[in-house]
Symmetry: C2
Subunit: 323 residues, 2 copies
């Protein structure tokens, strides 16, 4: 066996591990229920024990690995390794890098999960070969990672790409005191799974007209998947609700492409996965706007494997780059 790098994608419910050789061939992928702990130390003990098991199964040990990359769901200062704004893990701000150094002596690459997923799509997915792209994830919320001039772009405070907060209507100020906006931003309220579900629930409450959505929700909470399924059956309300979501997402995509002169937009996440229509609808609307910059709009191809694959790729890139 030729163990080289490990990539780990830490999620609030699932954690994915991936081992690769020096060429990036995947030796093993492993999915675990995340063992949440109140202290990052306890969590990391569990994580590195699992990683050691993985290495053992592949004829090596933790020290066979030249490096480990980890993506976390929060704002990560990739230089110091300080993790903040990670509600899924429920930790206070944590200095991750020294905690890992105490458990593993090799090279360590830390970043947020969306950046790692973008690296995964770049290394082995829909963004292969591109030097200027954005990867947008549409799920419960809307997030993104920016890859500019051939490398990740993180911003002045490691918070670039938080496009769920994009303003969709000038002058419509949202107050931080408004509970509706405390968690989700304006673009998310229009175009995320949460936003689409909430708009549909509002519609059903305010309209007595029949809609397939009602039957699909079966009296439970209305979710985005009900709206997509109803639209597939030609339901007028569902089609109109999705039209609004597409219009807002397409305008946001176009504005990002204009600002950054990107050649590629990757869309992924639960709402977009296995939903080619979503891609087609966004691409159609983006192309209506002027100027007509050539930009490809593609579906992410690695799904929830992207983060772990990207984290492993980040290690290889760090250890083999001459820069």
């Amino acid at each position: 066996m030729n163990l080289f790098s490990a990539g780990i994608d830490v999620g609030g419910t699932k954690t994915l591990l991936c081992l690769t050789d020096e060429q990036g061939n995947i030796l093993e992928e492993h999915k675990l229920e995340t063992q949440l702990s109140r202290e990052p130390e306890t969590f990391l003990n569990w994580l590195f024990a699992e990683l050691e098991h993985c290495c053992n199964r592949n004829g090596g040990t933790l020290s066979s690995l030249k490096g480990v990359g980890i993506g976390f769901p929060g704002v990560m200062n990739e230089r110091t390794g300080t993790l903040t704004s990670a509600p899924a893990l429920n930790w206070p701000a944590a200095d991750i890098r020294p905690l890992i150094a105490a458990r593993y002596p090799g090279a360590v690459v830390l970043d947020n999960d969306v950046n790692m997923a973008a690296l995964g799509e770049h290394a082995a997915g829909a963004a292969a070969g591109s030097g200027h792209f954005i990867m947008i994830t549409v799920g419960t919320g809307v997030g993104s990672a920016l890859f500019l001039d051939g490398r990740l772009y993180r911003g002045a405070g490691f918070a670039a790409g938080e496009i769920g907060y994009l303003i969709v209507k000038p002058g419509e100020y949202n107050s931080a005191a408004d509970p509706e906006y405390s968690e989700f931003g304006p673009l998310e309220m229009e175009a995320s799974g949460t936003g689409i579900g909430a708009k549909a629930a509002d519609y059903l409450q305010s309209s007595a007209r029949p809609s397939v959505i009602r039957g699909l929700a079966q009296g439970g909470p209305v979710r985005a998947e009900h709206v997509f399924a109803a639209a597939e059956r030609g339901d007028e309300a569902a089609l109109q609700l999705l039209d609004q979501a597409y219009e807002h997402m397409a305008a946001a995509v176009k504005n990002i492409v204009i600002t950054l002169d990107l050649e590629l937009v990757i869309l992924g996440g639960g709402v977009v996965e296995k939903n080619q229509r979503y891609i087609d609808e966004i691409a159609k609307r983006v192309s209506r706007y002027t100027p007509h910059q050539p930009v490809a709009i593609k579906q992410a191809v690695l799904g929830n494997r992207a983060g772990a694959i990207g984290a492993a790729a980040a290690v290889r890139s760090k250890l083999t780059s001459s820069v």
Copy 2:
């Protein structure tokens, strides 16, 4: 004399030259009426003759210069030196780099004029010390330059920062066939000098209510400066027109700051120069939006000198950088 670098800002009507020593001290600044020619060769003969005169006045010759930086009003591929979309110069797409090499043997740095102005503000103006900022120019149109991770960002096709085309209303497609949009983009139609003037003219035509703007325009075309002057006198229509312009610009600024996690926004150009109120109104509105990222909003300080100073700085940076 210690001639080191020359910076040149080529404009449709004025061309500015700047000579500096190795430390960046300005030895001479010189403003010329641009001698437009149908062929770039003729123009460059004139330009380098003027530059030679400048060097002579400072006790040297063209070959005393270690490098020359030039900013052009158009889309510049800084690697190949190909200039496109330069209506002010009325040339076909031109390969500038070999034409300059035939006239000057030293280092040559080429870029568009807004990028050079951003480098000027970074070297000796409002952006000194910042690694993550945008410089927005508001004049006849709206343009910008992006400085990310400590360097200019140009995009996949050297067209990054064309924010005059930002969509201000999702789904409001502007057709390339619409003459109103063939030259100006949606944000420009709301917030540029041209846009503010056009909105005011529309208002005066559709309303019989008295407005100070009417008297200021004296029967001639309504310009943005009339609207700003009327607003200073408390004219209700002018205040409302500017409020709309500010709202649109503030939303655009906020969206760019969110996407790129910038620490600084510099505003310059004819509409903003000597107009601190413009800065204050944008800053006030940006701060109303959540999330509350810390971002400074400042006026450009170098005015129309920024481009030439930045072009000279680009030469020094190229020749002294170890990267």
